[in-house]
C-alpha cells in the first residue's frame, strides 16, 4: 500500500511531516484532506511552498479524497495522508468504506475545553469519543509524533495526563 500513514495533525504540512516522516519514509507525495484548503488556491500555494520540489502534494476535500483513495493507495511512491482534525478523518474513514485500517494521531494541540493526554495531544470528551468510535470500527488508533517515538495505543493515550 502506497499510503504509509493516515495522520491527524492540526498543523497539517509542517516540519515533522515533511522532514521528520518525509525523510525516513522517502515520501513521494502527501495527500492533504481539508475542505477549506481544497477550495482555496492561496492556502494550497502556502502549503506547496513548504514542500521540496521532488515531493507532490495533492489537495482534496473529503469526498474527492475518498473517490481517489484507491488510486493513492496504488501509487508506486510512498505517501502520507493528512487531516487537520479527528472529525475530518472520521468522515474520510466512513466515506472510504473499509479502505483505511489505521490512524495516527500526530498532533492535536491545546484549545479551551481540551484536556492534555500526551505532550502533543489535547482532546475534548467528544474528540475522545470520536477516536474510540474509530477503534470500534476496527481501525488501529495510536499516537506518534515522530518515527523514532514509540506508538502510544489509544487507551494508553486517553489515560494519559500529558506527562
Amino acid at each position: 500500500m502506497a499510503l504509509d500513514l493516515y495522520r491527524i495533525d492540526d498543523r497539517l504540512i509542517h516540519g515533522q511531516v515533511v522532514v521528520g516522516w518525509g525523510q525516513p519514509l522517502d515520501l513521494g507525495f502527501i495527500v492533504l484532506v481539508d475542505d477549506e484548503v481544497a477550495s482555496s488556491d492561496w492556502e494550497q500555494e502556502l502549503y506547496r511552498m513548504g514542500v521540496p520540489p521532488d515531493m507532490d502534494v495533492y489537495f482534496d476535500a473529503v469526498d474527492s479524497a475518498a473517490e481517489k483513495l484507491s488510486r493513492y493507495q496504488d501509487d508506486d511512491r510512498r505517501g502520507l495522508l493528512l487531516t487537520g482534525d479527528i472529525a475530518t478523518m472520521t468522515r474520510l474513514v466512513d466515506a472510504a468504506d473499509g479502505a483505511i485500517s489505521s490512524v495516527n494521531v500526530g498532533g492535536i494541540h491545546h484549545r479551551p475545553g481540551r484536556t492534555q493526554r500526551l505532550r502533543y495531544v489535547f482532546l475534548t470528551p467528544s474528540e475522545e469519543a470520536e477516536l474510540r468510535a474509530l477503534a470500534d470500527k476496527g481501525l488501529e488508533v495510536s499516537a506518534q509524533d515522530v518515527p523514532s517515538a514509540k506508538p502510544v495505543p489509544l487507551e494508553e493515550m486517553l489515560a494519559g495526563n500529558g506527562s
Binding site: D10, R11, L12, I13, H14, G15, V17, V18, V19, W42, L46, Y47, M49, G50, V51, G107, H109, H110, R111, R119, Y120
Partner: protein
C-alpha cells in the same frame, strides 16, 4: 517598543540557541525576539508571532525551515502585511550579518543577510569535498 528589529522563529530551542550565539559574538541579541513553535497549534504559533510583532515593532521574521509551522504562520501574516519580510532557512551567519547591518534599513539588511547566509554554507574535505585539509 523594544529595540528589536526582527523575530527569529523555529523548532525547539532554535531561536534561543541562535540568540545566545548572537549575544556571545556581537552583544546585540536585543535586535531579535525569539519564538518557538514547541507544543503549539498552528493558530497559536500565528497568534504568538502577531503579538510579538505588535509589541516589538519588528518588520522581519527569520524562520528555520521552509516547511515549518513558523514559516507558515509568518506567510499568513505577510499576506496581510506585505511589507513584512520573511526569510526561511536562516543560519547563524544570516543573523549575524543582519545584526551588523540592521541600521542600513531592514530591506537592504535582509537581502544582504540572506546573501551572507547562503555564502556561508561550505563543504570542505570528505570524499567529494573541495578544499580543506583533505581536498585537492
Amino acid at each position: 517598543m523594544s529595540s528589536a528589529r526582527a523575530i527569529v522563529a523555529g523548532h525547539g530551542t532554535f531561536a534561543e540557541g541562535m540568540l545566545s550565539a548572537i549575544e556571545q559574538i556581537t552583544g546585540r541579541s536585543d535586535l531579535f525576539i525569539g519564538v518557538t513553535n514547541r507544543d503549539l497549534s498552528a493558530a497559536d504559533v500565528e497568534q504568538l508571532m502577531r503579538d510579538r510583532l505588535v509589541t516589538s515593532g519588528a518588520t522581519v521574521i527569520f524562520t528555520d525551515l521552509p516547511a515549518g509551522s513558523c514559516t507558515m504562520a509568518a506567510r499568513r501574516i505577510q499576506r496581510e502585511q506585505p511589507t513584512l519580510s520573511v526569510v526561511t532557512g536562516v543560519n547563524l551567519a544570516t543573523l549575524l550579518d543582519f545584526a551588523f547591518h540592521a541600521e542600513a534599513g531592514d530591506v537592504d539588511a535582509v537581502e544582504h543577510a540572506a546573501d551572507k547566509g547562503r555564502a556561508s554554507l561550505v563543504v570542505s574535505g570528505g570524499p567529494g569535498g573541495k578544499g580543506g585539509p583533505r581536498g585537492p
